[in-house]
Amino acid sequence: MPRVVFVGLASCFGCQINITNAEAHLVDVLGQIDLRYWQLTHSEPMPEEFDVAVVEGAVTTEEAVSTLLEVRRRASAVITIGACAATAGIPGMAAEGYLTRPVQVYGEHVPEACGTMCAPRPVSSVIDVDFEVACCPVDPLEFVRVLQQVLYGSNSFRRSSTLCGECKRNERGCFYGRETLCLGMVTRSGCGARCPNLGRPCNGCAGLSPDANVPAARRVCERSGVPVARFDEALEMFNQTNPAISA
């Protein structure tokens, strides 16, 4: 049975918690793996031997960098879960001026627990990532699906199409017709356009699609009476460290 570890970096641990919301299926899922370490529930240190590493959270310290390098050396597959790991997410919002923050907060005596801080960045900027479960937080069943892809293989390609196609299937109409900002047109699909279906615009938690057409999206904003500056600002919540945004 594949040995699996869960590693938590800078994050709220909400994705790890949300996985437990798979409740009815949790025992079934655990039956397919040898769970060696789950940071959320274990007090022992992480074991040295494992096959699959699941990583939550952004990289914000040199210690996290070494942890990841070690993880990559040992694991045959690395899965990231959640926006923080995939895009630097919420920690990434603070990327600008990040290194001076501890001094602002603590003064001269920055606690050791903070570690050797580095600018927040996604896991993929440090190591190769094999699979990604998107969104903030992750959908527990989506996590199970990706885990199974690692365990058993799948010939499906991950899509890079953006959200509007999925949103249309919910037949809810478009926020842009109501001069309301929504990040669906540049955000990676896969969630089923859950927020727009509940009446809330997409805030981009699945991250910018690698095929996002940001210049075209900005022109849509202009035409639809949504200020481009607001669009750009909204994108920063989950994509602050993505070089495609500043381009």
């Binding site: 039956g31 069943l141 509007c164 249309k168 037949e171 809810r172 996002a212 075209a216 022109r219």
Partner: protein, 344 residues
């Protein structure tokens, strides 16, 4: 075709009669737009709706459909039950009926008839209704403003009454039982001609009428226009989600959470999705927006025609509203018109 006339006041009893044995799907309000949904009563229906966000294809080709279930470890197919609802699609416009006819020619093709599609279709009745064009409609340019077949009933609004074309015995019986259909008179036929002319005169004159579209699609295949049009594609696939004739799908296996069994599913896919033409090993035959958008338009306005003798675009206008980047067949027609002006 058999024609009868019923009073507009008889419609509620026709719908009630359908509801006795069928699930009735009809246009209803959805926010600021309209959608086809299952109705509870005749009053839910907005029969003079302009268009709906998505089309009727979801009832023949569901967005996600199980083809079969399997046992992963034994690598075996399992017997599997498909539930099909006997259904009436009430209030379909002519363009949408023509769109279903396009799907029929793909999924009922003689060599590989599709058992799933056929099961849905066999359980479905289509009741069409006449309409007046809205701003984005161009069905008349693509020979889809009239439905010549593919329906059980078609209701042509001729004032306070409907001229009903009857396409099936089943529907004729229900009509007979629920209403008092009478023979069409000369007066009814005159009213029908007037209604048709009013419709024909009401199309948006800004959408150019282009002859020989398939030939022009070939002639301008390498034009820089496609770079410009495809360059603004958002890769969102909204166009094919709302399109009544986009039938492409992906086939994928989904495991149950226990990892022991699973389902093979077909899921709507779109040629404007970046990975659509990618093959194992990673090579992508249409790697950019230019190639993808051009391919989509080419299939709509040329490719399908050569195989099935009808256009795969019915001019319903849904993509015109759905595409935020302003990519639609109308833009292609306008381009051809500009080219004609340049060459003149």
């Amino acid at each position: 075709m058999l024609y009868r006339v019923i009073d507009a006041s008889e419609l509620p009893s026709l719908v009630s009669a359908f509801m006795e044995t069928y699930e009735v799907v009809a246009p209803v309000r959805s926010g600021r737009s309209y959608a086809f949904e299952v109705i509870e009563s005749f009053d839910d229906i907005v029969l003079d709706y302009p268009t709906t966000i998505t089309s009727l294809k979801k009832y023949y080709l569901p967005p996600r459909e199980t083809l079969f279930e399997f046992d992963k470890d034994g690598n075996e197919v399992r017997d599997f039950e498909m539930r099909v609802k006997p259904r009436v699609l009430f209030g379909a416009h002519a363009c949408d009926i023509n769109a279903l006819n396009c799907l029929n020619s793909v999924f009922e093709d003689a060599r590989y008839p599709d058992p799933y599609y056929e099961a849905h279709k066999a359980a479905t009745m289509v009741v069409g209704v006449s309409c007046m064009p809205s701003e984005g409609c161009f069905c008349h340019l693509l020979d889809s403003d009239e439905a010549r077949n593919g329906y059980d009933l078609f209701l042509q609004d001729i004032g306070d009454r409907y001229l009903v074309s009857i396409g099936s015995v089943e529907a004729a019986n229900i009509l007979e039982g629920a209403c008092s259909p009478r023979e069409a008179t000369d007066e009814d036929r005159i009213a029908f001609r007037q209604a048709t002319r009013r419709r024909q005169a009401a199309f948006n004159p800004d959408i150019p009428d282009i002859q020989e579209i398939p030939m022009l699609m070939d002639a301008f295949h390498s034009d820089p226009f496609w770079e410009e049009l495809g360059g603004r594609c958002l890769s969102c696939t909204a166009c094919s989600s709302v399109c009544p004739t986009c039938y492409c799908f992906d086939i994928c296996d989904t495991l149950d959470p226990d990892g022991k069994s699973g389902r093979r599913e077909r899921v709507w896919d779109a040629c404007t999705s970046p990975q659509f033409a990618q093959v194992a090993g990673g090579y992508n035959f249409r790697a950019d927006g230019r190639n993808r958008v051009r391919h989509r338009m080419y299939h709509k306005l040329n490719g399908f025609l050569s195989a099935h003798d009808r256009n795969l675009c019915v001019g319903c206008g849904r993509c015109v509203y759905a595409c935020k980047a302003d990519i639609s067949p109308i833009e292609v027609l306008k381009f051809f018109e500009r080219k004609g002006a340049e060459n003149a």
